[in-house]
């Protein structure tokens, strides 16, 4: 694998894993030293991550994008538009076996599964469902939106009950998709996204002080 992809992947993981906090300044030279690459691949990686919204310009320099509550709400609206469109397409032509694969992903999580894995599967559910639409642009839109949301979801305080409810909603959406009931699937997915947004925003707004204390930049809505 090329150095550029290497730096990009590792830096992305550090940002998404909150090993580098939202709002932190980045210097090309620090990244260079940290990953043992020269500035050429570092710059390429930063340019890529900028388009993903994970880093941004701060005057002349680079900054890990802060977590922005207003942005999270806007992403939820965007997600709703593209995911609902995608699931409608999926209902029209997806094969049951493809739905089974996604259902198996959900099944793979149980009481022993680490929280991080639940987090990942919860995102992949939406991404893979969008992939089944067969529309590359809807798929990418969902994938990119989930990437932008993923740090916030990491911070979210999720109780067991909320997690169970989310999984039940996921299964209900799959059931509707399996029957080809586009309206029902759209309705359920839409409600799921709105509910998910509400819980997320509430959780983060309540915990904003704590997050700031941990050194994370959190911008108000």
């Amino acid at each position: 694998m090329s150095q550029m992809q290497n730096v990009e992947r590792q830096l992305r993981e550090m940002i998404l894993g909150l090993e580098i906090g939202p709002g932190e300044k980045l210097t090309e030279r620090w990244i260079e030293g940290r990953f043992g690459a020269s500035r050429t691949p570092v710059r390429a990686a930063l340019l890529r991550l900028e388009t993903e919204g994970l880093v941004g310009r701060d005057g002349r320099g680079w900054t890990v994008s802060p977590i922005n509550l207003a942005e999270l709400e806007q992403i939820a609206v965007y997600r709703e538009a593209v995911e609902v469109a995608a699931v409608r397409l999926t209902c029209m032509h997806a094969e049951s076996s493809a739905i089974d694969v996604i259902e198996a992903m959900l099944d793979s999580c149980d009481d022993n599964t680490p929280r991080e894995e639940w987090h990942r599967v919860g995102m992949d559910f939406h991404i893979e469902l969008a992939r089944l639409s067969g529309n590359e642009f809807l798929f990418r839109a969902v994938r990119d939106a989930m990437t932008r949301l993923s740090r916030a979801r990491w911070l979210e305080v999720r109780d067991e009950a909320a997690l169970g409810r989310a999984w039940a909603e996921h299964r209900a959406i799959l059931a509707a998709a399996r029957l080809g009931d586009a309206d029902q699937a759209a309705r359920l997915l839409s409600a799921h996204i709105v509910g998910s947004r509400d819980r997320l925003v509430t959780s983060l707004a309540n915990d904003r002080r704590g997050l700031r204390a941990r050194g994370f930049a959190v911008v108000a809505a």
Copy 2:
């Protein structure tokens, strides 16, 4: 302005203006010489344009993205999802004066207006309408989709009648938005996009031979 932005802007204009044909190979060294910049800004520009879908990798090298009929159809579906969502938001809270600004854009085109300007205003109509939604992600999605479509629209054979029909549809959408009739605006916009796609795909499919003869790579649906 920095060299990077300069190279990016000029190269984008050349690609969108078909001064460099779809499917043509690009070398970093050629761009370097063409714009009098060194490879660093050239590479940054290429990375950016890659995320816009205007250039792509061809093995190790770079290629101006060919015009892909299947992709155009997928973009239309994507556009429909995000533009309809945006216009619904716009109906909920946009001020009449903001609608007036867009209407004025439409008015600015008359019989003496060059074709290129009609083309640009036709795109800006959709972009500015999406901007009024206030949702940054829906806005960017529309803007990026229009960018990807713009080369194809340039090639499209548009008769006067079709252009007039499109403008009438634009005005009808604005009228609905002004009244805050979200359902009606959504319906009209959706029909407009579908009709626009049909005309575009038909036109390009019929003219594919001619386009290839002019040296443009056009990929079948």
